[in-house]
């Protein structure tokens, strides 16, 4: 990265925002100095390991841990019986309200195991080898039960019942919830359509694929006070969820965030921490737990597999008149798939008079799903954007023109009820349409696919503090783990507000005892919401700096102006005076003490994100393998604080979407055991698989943020699934409605079409 100033000339007042300074965490990460969850080691620490179910669905008849406890070196053993029964207690932690009974049962099974990999006992021992040996000594008797993983099968009459107490319309069912909303008369609207397209679509569960496995160290003292060091998307989430699941007072637990090696939503929940807390409490020693990659795949949240139906009606000129969407999502072992978000996002790129959207949240014998980048939206977009491609083909319209004709604009009431304002969707469509990549000529077996996507973005609770050092530097602390570059953007926003260079700001992520409560880093909210807290804290510090300057000059504070990192005023004689930040900070001890401020807020007014992606592929007719030739990803980013990071978010989202479209899927055997729980068999894209992801940043600022920020991290994963599917259709002439678009599937579809 360079230090290039690329802020457009339209905003010359911004000196820091819009530049690309070297990231503050970069050197530590490339030199190995950064401390991730697995890096911490404490004196006398034990090693924890978890016994996991080999069955997809089974009743636990008995667990005998006597032999494991007797093994020399074993210091503690826990099972589900050691965790408090939390029933249906609801707790507002993480990103929303959670049923703690489900959370606890997912952390450690009680009476039944509900998926292959479900935890049912844990051991703390002097070494990892002893802990693993002890797991082998735990004797479990299972009553194996029929299992069901496919979402349609789970909804079918007679399906194995996963939760005995779950009912739908008074009957035992795996349907946890049905959502529906809509507007207008569908029958009338479809009757008015000149053209109708419809399709049925399926996707498979895919994992977030973060490089760093879950890891933590927990230490419970003799007084019951506990410390957790863990990699997560939110230390406050870890604190409350771990304490409650382990049956400890939240106030007894302090969480220090470790560096995080990717989360993408998958680290907004707890798995190991409550277990390590209990083991540490029992053993009287710190306990470290680190998942293997196999455990990450088998026991942590992927996102849902799905089964969907879409029907679209339009006039000959392309005007959409009606949409009917039905989406069934796997929740995994406990309720809570992202289907409601999919319902709200699936049609929000369009100005539609009449629609019906139905969503089904269905439990299955697979790992409980967790959030994954714009949760649910890519799945729904795969279905609707594939149907839109079919509609364009049927009408003989350019796919971008079709989307422009029906585009949501300022004032459009989105499908889910919000009135869209200050959106840059049409501008993004135009910018992508004009990109040189779209002029590239396509050859044999090559095709171009277009798809669009929407994500709300949101604000939420954030805290930030700023403290000035006596050298005029500043430490900015937040509680938002830095997953996508937030330390850089926080430092830049503080520097811009303070009027100093960014290298004077040291941004840190503080522990739960050192900063006010914050929600997790997720929902594309951190630069928006936590950034707002940083700006407001900095403004408070500036007010204090002005007051100190006024005191020094013996003038009213309101006559002092803050500009370019210094206080200025005209004194009583009319002479211009100034005191720099360095001077004021150096004198702070004499003028009232160190200067600092903290702000906690619940941010409202997040601007939604829109993305437009175009993908060129070549399909090998012999093997069915897909090569991505060109990829153009356009997005309304509000205002890019650090453009290189924003580009990185767009590129990362596109690449994860490409993997989801082409290769990634959970493969289960006939007994419900995951067959590809490792990166050799679960194929994520690597750099050599891909062309440069060309980004197009469109800036339509969000007026609800001082610098115009909109969230940018999630919407770039929404269009790629359909963009790839549409490109493959263009290359092969065959519509494939099931993901992933693996070589065998493409070959089979092409062969079937020829036959």
């Amino acid at each position: 990265m360079t230090d290039t100033l690329d802020r457009p000339a339209t905003t010359p007042e911004l000196k820091v925002v819009g530049t690309r300074p070297i990231r503050p965490d970069g050197v530590d990460k490339v030199t190995g100095r950064a401390q991730y969850g697995a890096d911490l080691a404490m004196a006398g620490q034990l090693h924890g390991s978890i016994l996991r179910s080999p069955h997809a669905h089974a009743r636990i008849v008995s667990i005998d841990t006597k032999k494991a406890r007797a093994l020399p070196g074993v210091k503690a053993v826990v099972t589900g019986a050691d965790f408090p029964d939390l029933g249906d207690v609801m707790h507002d932690g993480g990103e929303g309200v959670n049923n703690l009974g489900y959370v606890s049962n997912n952390v450690m099974a009680k009476s039944k195991v509900l998926y292959d990999g479900h935890a049912l006992a844990a051991v703390a021992a002097l070494s990892p080898a002893i802990a693993e040996a002890a797991l082998d000594l735990i004797e479990v008797k299972y009553e194996v039960l029929p299992h069901v993983i496919n979402v349609d099968a789970a909804m079918a009459p007679g399906a194995p019942q996963i939760h005995e107490d779950m009912t739908y319309e008074g009957q035992p069912s795996n349907i946890a919830k049905r959502y529906q909303f809509g507007r207008g008369d569908l029958d009338v609207a479809f009757a008015s359509a000149d053209v109708i397209v419809e399709g049925e679509y399926t996707t498979e569960p895919v994992h977030q694929g973060y490089i760093e496995p879950h890891a933590c160290v927990c230490s419970v003292g003799a007084d019951g006070r506990a410390d957790i060091w863990a990699s997560s998307q939110g230390a406050f989430m870890v604190r409350s969820m771990s304490a409650l699941v382990a049956g400890m007072p939240v106030s007894n637990v302090r969480v220090t965030p470790a560096e995080i090696g990717g989360g993408f939503g998958g680290k907004t929940v707890v798995y190991l921490e409550p277990v390590a807390l209990l083991l540490s409490k029992m053993a009287g020693a710190p306990v470290k737990m680190v998942m293997s990659r196999e455990e990450v795949f088998r026991a942590t949240g992927p996102t849902s597999g799905s089964s969907m139906k879409v029907r679209l009606g339009a006039k000959f000129d392309g005007t959409l008149v009606a949409a009917d969407v039905d989406m069934k999502f796997q929740a995994g072992a406990f309720p809570g798939s992202p289907v409601s978000a999919a319902c709200m996002t699936v049609l929000s790129c369009y100005d539609l008079p009449t629609m019906r959207v139905v969503g089904w949240d269905v439990v299955t014998n697979s790992p409980k799903v967790a959030a994954y980048r714009a949760p649910g939206a890519p799945i729904g977009a795969f279905a609707v954007e594939s149907a839109m491609d079919d509609l364009a083909l049927k009408l003989g319209l350019d796919p971008i023109a079709l989307r422009e004709k029906n585009a949501a604009r300022d004032g459009t009431v989105a499908a889910y009820g919000a009135t869209l304002q200050n959106i840059g969707y049409v501008e993004t469509l135009e910018a992508v349409r004009d990109h040189p990549n779209l002029q590239a000529k396509l050859g044999p077996n090559q095709g171009r696919g277009v798809a669009v996507g929407f994500w709300f973005n949101f604000g939420g609770e954030s805290s930030a503090s700023i403290h000035l050092g006596d050298d005029g530097s500043a430490t900015v602390a937040t509680a938002s783990p830095d997953i996508g570059g937030s330390r850089a953007s926080m430092a830049m926003m503080a520097a811009e507000t303070l009027g100093v260079s960014v290298d004077k700001i040291r941004p840190i992520v503080a522990d739960t005892a050192s900063i006010g409560h914050s929600m997790v880093t997720g929902g594309s909210r951190t630069t928006f919401a936590t950034g707002m807290a940083v700006i407001q804290a900095t403004e408070k510090a500036i007010e204090e700096l002005k007051r100190r300057a006024a005191m020094t000059w013996d003038v009213p504070a309101e006559t002092v102006e803050w500009k370019a990192g210094a206080a200025h005023c005209l004194d009583v004689k009319g002479e211009a005076k100034s005191l720099t930040l360095d001077q004021l900070a150096a004198a702070a001890g004499k003028t009232g003490g160190s200067i600092g401020a903290e702000v906690t807020l619940t941010a409202q007014g997040a601007g939604p994100g829109f993305a437009v992606h175009v993908c060129d592929v070549e399909v090998d007719p012999e093997t069915g393998a897909v090569t991505v030739l060109r990829y153009t990803a356009g997005q309304d980013v509000g205002r890019a604080i650090h453009p290189a990071y924003v580009e990185g978010q767009i590129q990362g989202g596109a690449v994860q979407g490409i993997g989801w479209a082409l290769n990634e899927e959970y493969v289960f055997d006939s007994k419900g055991k995951m067959e590809n729980a490792g990166f050799l068999d679960y194929r994520v894209p690597v750099a050599s698989d891909l062309p440069m992801i060309d980004t197009v940043m469109v800036e339509v600022p969000n007026p609800k943020h001082p610098f115009g920020v909109k969230g940018v991290g999630e919407v770039p994963i929404v269009p790629p699934l359909a963009a790839l599917a549409n490109a493959v259709r263009a290359a092969t002439g065959v519509r494939i409605n099931a993901l992933p678009l693996s070589p065998p599937r493409i070959r089979a579809a092409v062969d079937a079409a020829k036959a």
Partner: protein, 82 residues
């Protein structure tokens, strides 16, 4: 009067299928109470599980947010993210 719309099917447990109604409230906190008065349990449910589109703009956990006397409020599921 504040006009409230809630087309989501899960609200029907409280409203008996009524999807549009009016209440008197000048803040979101008072809106929750008014919802409870009209449909017992709805206010608490909305406070815990739902976000609000107030005059088209999404608000979440916005207890103190002021409402215009003729505000349009749309009840939608809370929004999270990844």
């Amino acid at each position: 009067m504040v006009h409230v719309s809630g087309g989501w099917s899960e609200l029907a447990d409280f409203t008996g299928g009524v999807t549009e109604f009016e209440v008197t409230a000048d803040t979101v906190g008072r809106l929750y109470r008014a919802l409870d008065d009209q449909f017992p349990g709805l206010g608490e449910f909305v406070q815990e599980r739902m976000a609000l589109a107030i005059d088209g703009e999404i608000h979440q956990n916005a207890f103190a947010e002021r409402l215009r006397s003729d505000a349009e409020v749309f009840l939608i599921p809370k929004i999270g993210g990844g």
